[in-house]
Amino acid sequence: MDRQHIRVPEGYFDDLQARLSAIPSSQHAAVVRPWYSRLAPYAAMAACMAAMVVAGNFILRRTAPSGPAYDEYETMLSSELIPNTDPYAIYHDSDDVYEVSLEDVAEYLIASGTKVDHISFIIDE
């Protein structure tokens, strides 16, 4: 090794050999594990998922709207003071069935300026 002119600390190579010789025994200690240790990562994942579901459910229940303020909101929504943005309510009939009577029709026609003759024709029909 004369071609490189580098020294090492005294006793380094003896120490190095001792450390390297310990590799097999250190690897043995790492490898010998009980059979159920292989299941540990999957059990941890399942526990995390369960914790997320429970915590999420708890938070959603706690933050779900309720109380007098929410009741007032519902009333305002139904009286159309604030727009109803629920797609289902927009595209589907309401549960409350509102039947239009002939009187309602006549009133509407009179208000819109329809001639009386036409109105009586429709009513008689």
Binding site: M1, Q4, H5, I6, P9, F13, L16, Q17, I23, P24
Partner: protein, 172 residues
Amino acid sequence: MTRPPDELERLFNGIVRDYSERLYWHVRRFVHSHEDADDIVQDIFMKIWTALPSYRGEAQLFTWIYRIATNETLNWLRKRRVRAALSFQSLDEEMERRIDDDPWFDGDALQRQLSKEIQKLPDRQRGIFILRYYEEMKYEDIAEVLGVSVGSLKASYHIAYEKIKSAVKDLD
């Protein structure tokens, strides 16, 4: 044929006894740091221990060992180069600084310059030069270690030698 654990351990301890010092110097010439060379050598022997059960004698033992050592060292250099680039630094400049500041270097200015010129070679060409010039390995063995043809090895070594010779006077 699987070897029993006792035999594997005996074989490994023999490799430690015969190759630990050689591999240290091999790595040291690449990384120019005693501490880094020590770390890399430990990683190399961990890999050797892990791969030993699958060694079937397809290659000579020492070329197999040197292949692991050289690949591990080149991988270390590659990672170091990426890390240096991310910090907008040059690995080559870092290595030159290491050569200048190495407390374990006890050669003269010419030998320090030689180390710097070798350091400037591309990684693989440097590996060829180190194995041929310092380890005095046969071209056929270097070809097995690096997985290249003997012809390209000879050409590469010749180019490296001439490059360094012109840069450094009185090459050994």
